[in-house]
């Protein structure tokens, strides 16, 4: 049976249909979950997509983390359910305390919109399970606040516990240790700034995003995703 993946929609989210489309093309049964929902029953995995939840007012993700659905997301994650936050979704997960660190404004105060090379650093997370370490993927980024930061103790712990999931080959935004994506202790919650759903077809320049989304489908319990 196709894995049922919920794509969480906050007011101001704008990448939800890309995510549903990309996951659907890989064989998932993906649909939208309104941020007011309090039940996530029946879902095998969740994606918090990109955009500007609640207008990014105060800080990206700062208001979204108080949305009713976030309590259910936290419970889903605590039970081991796969949760992936992409771009603004990553910011929401850090604000909610489901991932460590924070995303601050890019180095040089530059909004960055570019396709970048990211290297897979771990093959045992919800988003990279079975993907060979060292694989380099060409995936777009599109953000102002993507400069990952954390204190030195947290960074040491992320390294010691092998929780840096993705690194930029050529750091575009000043992120500490070139970090593009991290995971939680259970490795089931992953946040990343690059947009794999925008690299889901050669027609739009790259289909490397399918490597990550396909791994998420496998994690969510799918058979081998369709090519």
């Amino acid at each position: 049976m196709a894995p049922h993946i919920g794509v969480v929609l906050f007011p101001g989210t704008n990448c939800e249909h890309d995510a549903v489309e990309a996951l659907g093309r890989l064989g998932a049964d993906a649909d939208l979950v309104w941020h007011g929902s309090t039940s996530l029953e029946g879902y095998d995995a969740l994606v918090l997509p990109g955009g500007f939840a609640h207008g990014d007012y105060l800080r990206p993700g700062a208001i979204a983390r108080f949305s009713p659905v976030m309590e259910a997301v936290a419970a889903f994650a605590a039970a081991g359910g796969p949760v992936v936050g992409i771009c603004n979704g990553f910011q929401v997960l850090t604000e909610a305390g489901l991932l460590p660190g924070a995303l601050q404004k890019n180095r040089g105060l530059r909004f960055v919109c570019a396709t970048v090379a990211v290297r897979v650093e771990r093959d045992d997370t919800a988003l990279t399970g079975g993907v060979a370490v060292g694989t380099t993927l060409s995936i777009p980024i599109n953000h102002f606040e993507g400069n990952y930061t954390c204190d030195t103790e947290t960074l040491a712990r992320l390294r010691d516990e092998d929780r840096v999931v993705l690194r930029y080959v050529d750091n575009p935004n000043g992120s500490i240790d070139d970090i593009a994506g991290v995971c939680n202790e259970g490795r089931n919650v992953v946040g990343l700034m690059p947009h794999p759903e925008r690299a889901a077809s050669a027609l739009v320049g790259s289909e490397d995003g399918n490597v990550l989304l396909g791994a998420l489908l496998r994690t969510a319990g799918a058979a081998t995703p369709a090519a």
């Binding site: 604000e95 460590p100 924070a102 601050q104 930061t149």
Partner: protein, 91 residues
């Protein structure tokens, strides 16, 4: 005890020491254009003002601190300073 008094609150949020402050740095780099080259240590932050109904100073401060710590500042990268005064008193 029922809240009986209005308090005015100001919360100032700044990036923690050691966290890069590109806005502050950019402002500082612009200052020589004004002919002011002795201005240093520029830091950019946010200021919030709101009113709270509370039973006393300590209660108002406790409530305002919850607002500051749980919403207005991200403790990973920011710190906040909370100031509380009775509504209507001089700032």
């Amino acid at each position: 005890m029922a809240p009986s008094q209005q308090f005015s609150v100001q919360v100032e949020v700044l990036l923690r020491d050691g966290i890069a402050d590109p806005q502050g740095a950019t402002i500082e780099r612009a200052l020589p254009a004004l002919g002011l080259d002795g201005v240093t240590a520029v830091r950019a932050g946010k200021s919030f003002r709101f009113d709270i109904a509370a039973s006393d100073d300590a209660d108002a401060l406790a409530q305002a601190t919850v607002v500051a710590d749980r919403l207005l500042a991200n403790p990973v990268i920011e710190e906040s300073v909370v100031t509380v005064r009775p509504a209507g008193s001089p700032a």
